[in-house]
Symmetry: C2
Subunit: 329 residues, 2 copies
């Protein structure tokens, strides 16, 4: 079964490439029904498939979009990938994915590769928005949607989640119950969203006149999560903390593990609230309340915005703010 090109078909049928191309692209108006039928029949018979690479070269458009995140196997990014795919389902676009491993170097390499491949747009959770590559894309008005992380100094198209109010609301629930000693555990807060969550935590407590000590706000070293988390937890428990807020699910998961292995006596007492939901929090011991990022909306807005940008790359930068969802268990 050889591979047919438009030229092959044209030759075999004794017509011109133009005619074949017209028929294939439904610019039929000017083609006689007989010719059209002959072409269509032949195409079906030999199972002709257009070569999208050639088309892409000609049209300067590949109908692919890039999706670049720190780690595609992280459920948060994985679920968004899935939703993006679904959004793209009835468009001609297909997704190229990449994981950066939080390495700026790797991010830059992949972006370059994606750009060389002429992707039509990019959805990116960047580990450094200030990097040359990212800044260059923005300057050149390359269709780019940033999510999950934000840089205040950089005006661009963002999809961000407003953590402030929901964090305040969720903590308020505890405070209403009479809980006073609330700790915070975060992974090294080197990206904007984590910092914001920590700020919101502090602000909420201040605003609701709940005292807290700086020792109750602790950071887990991201290069040694297990050990570091253990140390921080020990510190928190020694202060008789009643409840812990986690700036993301990584530390919370680790904490659940330590509770089971090393702090069983705490399980009945401690209350947990994590930013970023995972279904398993429902089954955990103790159950974990969470503030879930709206995966569907993030994916939906990102795609919608990106397709718009691909159509009109010069449209003004826009920040889309989404609300997370509190899940009480």
């Amino acid at each position: 079964m050889k591979k047919y090109s438009i030229a092959d078909i044209a030759k075999e049928l004794g017509v011109s490439k133009t005619t074949v191309s017209f028929v294939l692209n439904k610019r039929d108006k000017s083609i006689s029904p007989q010719t059209r039928k002959r072409i269509l029949d032949f195409v079906k018979k030999v199972g002709y498939k257009p070569n999208s690479v050639a088309k892409a070269l000609k049209e300067g458009k590949t109908n692919t979009i890039g999706y670049l995140v720190p780690d595609i196997s992280n459920p948060f990014y994985g679920n968004i990938a899935r939703k993006i795919e679904q959004q793209l389902d009835d468009t001609p676009y297909q997704l190229i994915i990449g994981s950066t491993d939080e390495s700026e170097q790797k991010e830059s390499e992949i972006i370059h590769s994606l750009l060389d491949r002429q992707v039509d747009g990019l959805i990116l959770a960047s580990c450094n928005i200030k990097s040359d590559v990212v800044q260059a894309m923005i300057t050149k008005q390359f269709p780019l949607v940033l999510f999950d992380r934000m840089d205040q100094d950089t005006s661009a198209n963002y999809i961000i989640v407003n953590s402030r109010e929901k964090i305040s609301e969720a903590l308020g629930l505890w405070i209403d119950e009479g809980i006073k000693k609330i700790g915070l555990l975060s992974i090294t807060p080197d990206i904007s969203s984590l910092k914001e969550r920590i700020e919101s935590f502090k602000d909420t407590l201040t605003q609701k006149s709940i005292d807290y000590k700086d020792e109750w706000i602790r950071t887990v070293d991201k290069d040694d999560i297990k050990e570091s988390c253990y140390i921080q937890l020990k510190a928190l428990f020694s202060e008789d903390i009643e409840a812990i807020f986690f700036s993301n699910n990584l530390v919370c998961i680790e904490t659940l593990w330590h509770l089971k292995k090393n702090f069983t006596e705490q399980i009945q007492k401690i209350k947990l609230l994590s930013f970023d939901n995972i279904d398993f929090f429902d089954l955990a011991n103790p159950p974990v309340n969470s503030i879930a990022q709206p995966i569907n909306e993030i994916a939906g807005s990102a795609v919608k915005r990106l397709l718009k940008l691909i159509k009109s790359p010069e449209s003004a930068a826009e920040v889309i703010t989404l609300e997370p969802i509190i899940i009480i268990r």
Copy 2:
């Protein structure tokens, strides 16, 4: 900052495209050092990047490979995706991913699209290996690696996991403890791997002279997991089952949920073993033993085999069998 092509560079520098192309592709041998330097400097200055689409058209090779699975947000497929990416890291290849949703129709559409895009190879967890598209790829010797599912009638390149022995071994542990009444819960077993796991279960019990009734082997309807799982569990518990083996993690997770919500009295008694590991099984109540598929090896073998096939597509079909790992908790 305009976009430069090789032709532009050649013109600006008063040399020919060939010269530029040679320099860029390190076929420098015949180019004078001065010319080379001039070109290299200019290229760096204007930030020239080759257009891979044009290159792909010319060379008939896109340096992309497809990864098509039922659901990229499923941790099993997500983790494999990640590992594949890592394997591909120091090759020129990039991954295009897709989710089929277990729909043959969707699978076929995406495969067509990938083929039109001239992907150089495909790693596929097919929902129907007997389908026309898949069979056509095999016939045409398109570089294809199948994993996770197998069709006995189809000779092709497979990466499969040998569930038999480890299932037998893991069940043996229970039997040695004196456990006699073991049930099985599976999602509708419409793919080869699930069927094999169920067979292994039966064979093991028979071989070890452990009686079981057909009512202890139950199927959860995949279109209504929650409700159906509840019904099947009720049936199992009414038979005073002591332990349950799950053919994959989906049903096991659902069961953990039901145990917590509807069968709390069973939590202390029941033993669980699931095929497919997730880290959370460690934290679950009760803890879940599991038989983990060797994610790294699957990804590694798949990539290795595929790259080989891309180089020599006519090489004979090969079935690579990997061993899972028992995790006791």
